[in-house]
Symmetry: C2
Subunit: 304 residues, 2 copies
């Protein structure tokens, strides 16, 4: 599998470069580069932007790390693998645009390996990933566009994939304490290995390659919408939900912090400026008041 | 114990009123009142202020709630009690002053009861609580003043209490992923029951009664310090650490969210406006750069 691992690593590194290049073209400002090495093994390349023209804060991270004890948060469905030596690599991105009419987005593709500790154990791999959209103002056509490209990415791998991964996404990005979804979803999958390494890797490549097609047209459609203090304030308030989800529920974040990951890289997912206030609700009938309905899970695409 | 429970409840309600009264005098603006009832049993009174003159956001909460299954986060030292019917009451406060020279503070006093499910089980009670200080700019005299009043509160209950609860506080309010303490500590205790109900309750009353003496003189000493954008920005950045601690580590917050607690009340502890930025460090030699040293646990009082 080591040749395959090299191929996955090469793909992830190339994907990071291609995405950053397209985001730089959209923003007009360059991303910074921060390479780091992890004492316990491995390292990463953080590409990030702060105070860009388009992105107030955003990051496209590559990391390849190893550890001696797989934390329980790494695999929800295979608790029996906890404690094994492990290896993980992937690309993870979060973009927080300044304009509140442009949604925040997240994309991730990753490969995990749990090593065998003795002859009776097998080396286990699994892929995971997904992409999802978190709007502050709801535009149906944006949600449909995003989901269409999610469906396109998965179409070559069977008709069951998009509906299953779409539902998984709705279930995963759910704030239990708010009874609210983080955004309008997309796709999410984990523990992917049943169809063999090559097919799983092809699926993950397709997801990675579809990201900019799913997201950048939405950026272009919304970037010239005018906004003022009212929209910025609403965006800062709603970003509080993003923080709550990532710090309380997100398995990737908790895995990173538990496994002695690089804190500043992991927390690049947090928004640049956030507000909390008590029992606040938008004025009835306002565009802000429509968001909670818009975030309720639904079928964005017509299945026949 | 039901007479005792009434006495504890009366004390907590009175403490809330007294503290709010003193905070209102300091702020010049009134706290709002929000009474709520919990479907599963119990309820509370939230007293809070937003956009006050002194406090940008703050809350003094009373709650008295019951449940059928004690969540594991409720008691670190007695995992065997998880799953029992339970009852909890207490007062919890967090104050986020606007002026960055005034520290944020937190105080909590609480009583937990794990009910017996059958004849072989005993009804178990335990008290918990504490108070701690989170400065943005370090003043040694403030830290000493705060710790002195923590020590005074505990002195009648034995010389061992302050050093033990001070250390517990340093260990509890620790951000593992940052290798940083949340503030300069104070006192923290949990699972208090060995010395009997009456003594434990007396200790908890003493902690509650000492809070305003520990905190308000610091407010008065710092409230007229001038500040500008620079200090406000640093405060917003440091408040990010407060959010990280409360959402990732704080047992009270996680217990509340896990047990179907009232989200808006629980998250009243979060600051009103918060910033995150990547790898930021204050300019060498600046007052902001001195904070990380100031937060390192130390003996603030001379023991002889």
């Amino acid at each position: 599998m080591s040749t395959s691992l090299d191929a996955v690593r090469d793909y992830f590194l190339d994907l990071q470069q291609r995405i950053v290049h397209q985001l730089e073209l959209a923003d007009g400002q360059s991303f910074e580069t921060d390479e780091w090495v992890r004492e316990q093994g491995g390292g990463g390349i953080s590409r990030y932007i702060e105070e860009g023209k388009l992105f107030e804060r955003g990051a496209v991270l590559f990391s390849h790390v190893k550890g001696l004890n797989l934390p329980p948060s790494a695999t929800a469905r295979r608790p029996e693998l906890a404690g094994r030596p492990w290896e993980a690599m992937g690309v993870s991105l979060v973009l927080h645009p300044r304009n509140p009419y442009i949604p925040t987005t997240h994309m991730n593709v990753r490969l995990f390996i749990a090593e065998a500790r003795h002859d009776q154990e097998e080396r286990i791999f699994w892929f995971g990933g997904g992409m999802d959209l978190t709007p502050y103002y709801g535009f149906e056509e944006d949600a449909i566009h995003f989901h269409q490209h999610c469906a396109h990415a998965l179409a070559p791998f069977g008709d069951d994939k998009y509906p299953a991964f779409k539902q998984w996404c709705d279930e995963y990005f759910y704030l239990k304490h708010r009874d609210e979804n983080r955004g309008i979803g997309g796709i999410f999958f984990d523990d992917l290995n049943a169809e063999g390494f090559d097919t799983c890797f092809a699926l993950v490549r397709s997801v990675g390659d579809h990201f900019t097609k799913a997201y950048l047209p939405i950026v272009e459609a919304r970037r010239h919408h005018r906004y003022g203090e009212r929209e910025r304030d609403f965006q800062a308030y709603r970003r509080g939900r993003y923080v709550e989800f990532n710090l309380v529920f997100d398995r990737g974040t908790l895995f990173g912090l538990q496994s002695g990951g690089r804190t500043e890289s992991i927390l690049l997912s947090l928004p640049p400026i956030v507000r909390w206030r008590y029992q606040w609700t938008p004025e009835a009938g306002s565009p802000e008041a429509q968001l909670s309905d818009f975030l309720r899970p639904r079928e964005w695409l017509n299945h026949t």
